[in-house]
Symmetry: C2
Subunit: 328 residues, 2 copies
């Protein structure tokens, strides 16, 4: 069988599914099995936050006792907050802007419990931390976008083992998000429908790439899969704004995310991965009603080589239908 | 010092230079020093091409004796050639296209001589192979774009040690190239100038990020550097089409590429890297006169984590000015 080019409905980008270069999922996994390095509790900078020189937590979340999740400032921030807004200035022909924004961490209590291992209650707390802090950031009129993500494992860029999540608030709407918003808007203008709703309707009818679903959420292997075993989690109903999602829906999404990661951990032998939230920008809240927020999980299997870097076309060697079947 | 957002002149994308998270170049390099795995000549599939089941070479290039470089079909192609053109068809709401195209390799004779170690004469031959085969591909009216690239090292996606280069011909213009062509065209319409020429003029005046130059070519660390120690090689004069570059200019470009890679090998301790050519599409040759073809080299240091994946914003922890000074 020949390879196939597939075009993303939102970004318009193309990827290649190349099954002739493919390994069957089980062989693929065997090739990529690497033992995770767990650093011990002793010496972990996220065990005693005060002792490791962190500022006092901005937000604390507890269940029965003590804290289960906190929001703290990142000690080595990529963006820092000062009392002015960033504005573009010229340097030669270029535009530059001071890196004004926020860079915070959500740290969970248990050194050994990553997101899929958290109790349902504590997993909900993590998302409560995301939403609560997101809403605080929304009041800062210097900010344009908040990116929430999780790095799991060295290959995914996590330099500290202890599970933690990052919230970066930016003075610009990031290029990839801008690109998706444009794609979603163009589709809406042309078809009077949300592009993600159309895609979900088709996927729920086809059933081939659905990995898990509950009342309000669905986990699927995208038809245009950039990375082997990539998964996406969508609210079934159309919500544009992460922060305004009803809490019953959010609980179903959190549970679906846990399920997706549990399946990955079990079937793919605990791979390194990133997950991140794609939502609408903070400002002009009426402008992005066409957009459908969601979560993307990208396990770290592919190496981005010269072709991917030079063209922006990812070559995926695992068929999305088989990936979903393998994970289900 | 705070971090700084910088906008690419061509793509409009933003990156972050975060010196507060940075290591000085020499410390940075110490951290990333890894010994290269050289597989032996015995068992190398590129030593005796016939014996390892390759089709006879499409093109052979020799200097004094035997071949020094050949163009051969990739045994495991991502794109395959049949006697029809690829055309988009619908699958559900998606567009798909058969992976019709070409996937070829340029293999050089010496198992241990990567591009920076080749004699000047043999390095020129590699680019002669690129140009000659490019011109053959240009006659196939099914094709839209030819991507030429090199993967060096496992981390850069090279599964075989023996130096080889890849030529992939595609039925579409790749999204990243399309994006750059648009940016270049928009700049031209607005300013009546080539965006790359403007940038080169500024860089040659500032001199801070120039790593090497000769009569026709310049090597620089881009002001908007996506990867630590990224380098770009430009013809000083404006040429839109790789394949139509005068051979004296091409020789200077090849020499500049060798210089750039020699400096990387020496100063950065032989890192893994990709290089690729960004040029204008095969068709509508009058449409892209605004574009300035060039070569980009991306060493493999960064890990693309949740932030980069979720936003498209790269965070670079080495200052481009310092990178250039360190390499010069």
């Amino acid at each position: 069988m020949n390879s196939e080019l597939r075009q993303d409905l939102v970004s318009g980008d193309w990827i290649v599914i190349a099954p002739s270069r493919a390994k069957r999922p089980d062989q693929f996994i065997k090739l990529h099995k690497i033992k995770r390095i767990k650093t011990p509790v002793k010496g972990c900078p996220f065990e005693d936050l005060q002792k490791s020189g962190h500022h006092p937590p901005i937000l604390k979340f507890k269940n029965s006792h003590d804290w289960e999740a906190v929001v703290v400032e990142n000690k080595y921030p990529a963006f820092t907050h000062i009392n002015v807004c960033a504005s573009p200035e010229k340097r030669g022909p270029y535009s530059v802007m001071e890196g004004i924004g926020h860079h915070n961490l959500v740290i969970t209590r248990d050194h050994y419990k990553n997101f899929p291992k958290l109790s349902k209650q504590n997993a909900d707390l993590v998302f409560k931390a995301f939403v609560d802090y997101y809403k605080i950031l929304a009041n800062d009129y210097c900010l344009a976008y908040v990116s929430i993500f999780h790095n799991w494992g060295l290959k995914a860029g996590a330099s500290i083992y202890h599970p933690h999540y990052q919230i970066i608030a930016l003075p610009i709407v990031p290029p990839d998000v801008e690109h998706s918003l444009e794609g979603s808007n163009n589709y809406y203008k042309k078809n009077k429908k949300c592009v993600h709703c159309v895609m979900l309707e088709w996927e729920l009818k086809e059933k081939k790439r659905i990995v898990y679903e509950n009342k309000s959420a669905v986990v699927l292997a995208p038809f245009v899969m950039r990375e082997p075993f990539e998964l996406r989690i969508f609210p079934k109903k159309h919500f544009s704004y992460f922060e305004d999602t009803p809490s019953a829906v959010m609980r179903d999404i959190v549970f679906a995310l846990q399920k997706a990661l549990q399946k990955m951990e079990k079937r793919l032998h605990d791979p390194d991965y990133n997950f991140f939230i794609h939502t609408s920008p903070l400002r002009d809240k009426n402008k992005y009603k066409h957009y459908h927020w969601h979560i993307e999980i990208l396990p770290k299997f592919n190496i981005s080589a010269g072709f991917e870097q030079g063209t922006g076309i990812e070559i995926t060697t695992v068929d999305p239908d088989e990936a979903a079947k393998f994970l289900r």
